[in-house]
């Protein structure tokens, strides 16, 4: 999939979720420039005439300091300074605190086609909103065939072949009081290069297809407490048909990893066969994951205890 593109135009045209309370003041012709980085630059040093390391390809953020500086210089100095400033291929300028620049700035920005906005937010607030919005916009995404359930606060992604019983297992977990995030189609988004968040496709959210029953609305049947919209994925549970020839983990000493969008997640394989109560295994796997996160690894601790005893001979 091609990388998503973001243009300055998109900040105000309502085509994205980004809402930074921007009002365009000048440079309308430059709106088609592409935003490539989510970093910001405070142009204080450049305004004072120091242009080494000038990050002109970032959004230029004029806070109270910058506007105060520009108020304190003469019109002549202002013009000279802006001539040099705008000679760089500046992405766009944003004035915060709802403080608008003077006419000289507006005229030059129009002449050079540098989009210039004013925002109601304070500078720090703007930076955090901007960074978050751009990060979210450029987050890597993918869809995966599986079910995502919140079990005791642990995001469990059930994977496995069609017909192995992912949906039935998810349904039984819901029945036990856990929460469905997505069934069959899980949209995954990578946030901050650290976490994966899963959600359902909007159109089929909180619905499931159960063979023999058809399509059901989980939210209507089990109530609002049985669903949630978004959940961080913590562990992967692979359901597979019991294979006599395969060795399944009997100790749990080695932690296996499953990689999605370059993020490693704890991974367990649960073999399915009639009479095995899979939901209870998944509940236990989720609790065990929490226990590990809180510093207790049952398998390792028992192993240490046994090592201690058997080595005393």
């Amino acid at each position: 999939m091609d990388k998503k593109k973001l243009y300055i135009r998109n900040l105000t045209d309502g085509t994205t979720d980004i809402n930074l309370q921007l009002e365009l003041l000048a440079g309308e012709k430059g709106l088609d420039k592409e935003i490539c980085v989510g970093d910001v630059n405070r142009p204080g040093l450049s305004l004072a005439g120091f242009f080494d390391f000038f990050a002109f390809s970032r959004i230029q953020l004029f806070g109270l300091g910058e506007t105060a500086y520009m108020r304190n210089i003469s019109d002549k100095q202002m013009k000279e300074m802006l001539e040099t400033f705008f000679s760089y291929d500046i992405l766009c300028c944003v004035f915060t605190h709802d403080v608008k620049p003077n006419q000289i700035f507006i005229e030059l920005a129009n002449a050079k086609n540098i989009p210039t906005f004013v925002s109601r937010y304070s500078t720090t607030r703007f930076i955090s909103l901007w960074t978050h919005a751009v990060e979210q916009y450029f987050a890597q995404e993918m869809t995966i065939h599986g079910s995502l359930v919140d079990v005791f606060g642990v995001g469990v992604l059930l994977l496995g072949k069609s017909g192995v019983g992912k949906s039935e297992c998810a349904l039984e977990l819901i029945e036990k009081g856990h929460r469905l995030v997505a069934d069959d189609v899980v949209e995954i988004q990578k946030i901050d290069e650290l976490f994966l968040f899963g959600t359902a496709a909007e159109i089929i959210r909180h619905h499931m297809e159960i063979r023999g029953l058809g399509i059901i609305n989980v939210r209507e049947i089990y109530g609002i407490g049985s669903v949630r919209n978004r959940k961080r994925i913590d562990i992967i549970v692979m359901l597979e048909e019991w294979d006599e020839t395969k060795e399944y983990d009997r100790l749990g000493l080695d932690e296996l990893k499953y990689t999605i969008l370059d993020i490693d997640l704890s991974y367990i394989t649960v073999p399915v066969r009639p009479g095995r109560n899979i939901p209870i295994l998944i509940e236990t796997a989720a609790l065990n994951h929490r226990l590990k996160k809180m510093g207790t690894n049952s398998a390792r601790e028992l192993d240490l205890k046994i090592k201690d005893i058997v080595s005393k001979e």
Partner: protein
């Protein structure tokens, strides 16, 4: 791997019944089948997956299959869509 492109003609788009017909057809074959619309991929053997694609009239759909009987699977799905989901042998319920 076999791939074909097809456009949806039926006015109502792919709602629950046509989705079921697509899934039923895909299920007949052992191969893995995927529908791809606007770069979004869905498992053709999953009703929810197909519904989530929100396939409207005029949508361009890529049908991709790999595995056993991939040729036949893609061919039958394409003709099902081209015939606006009119099956000759209706399954009685």
């Amino acid at each position: 791997m076999v791939e074909d492109i097809v456009y949806i003609n039926s006015d109502a788009g792919v709602h629950a019944r046509p989705a079921m017909m697509l899934v039923r057809t895909a299920m007949k074959y052992p191969c893995e089948v995927f529908f791809i619309k606007d770069d979004v991929e869905a498992n053709a053997k999953s009703i929810m997956g197909v519904l989530a694609l929100a396939i409207t009239k005029g949508s361009k759909l890529i049908i991709r299959a790999h595995g056993g009987n991939e040729e036949e699977a893609v061919h039958e799905l394409v003709s099902l869509i081209q015939n606006d989901f009119k099956e000759e042998d209706k399954i009685k319920v």
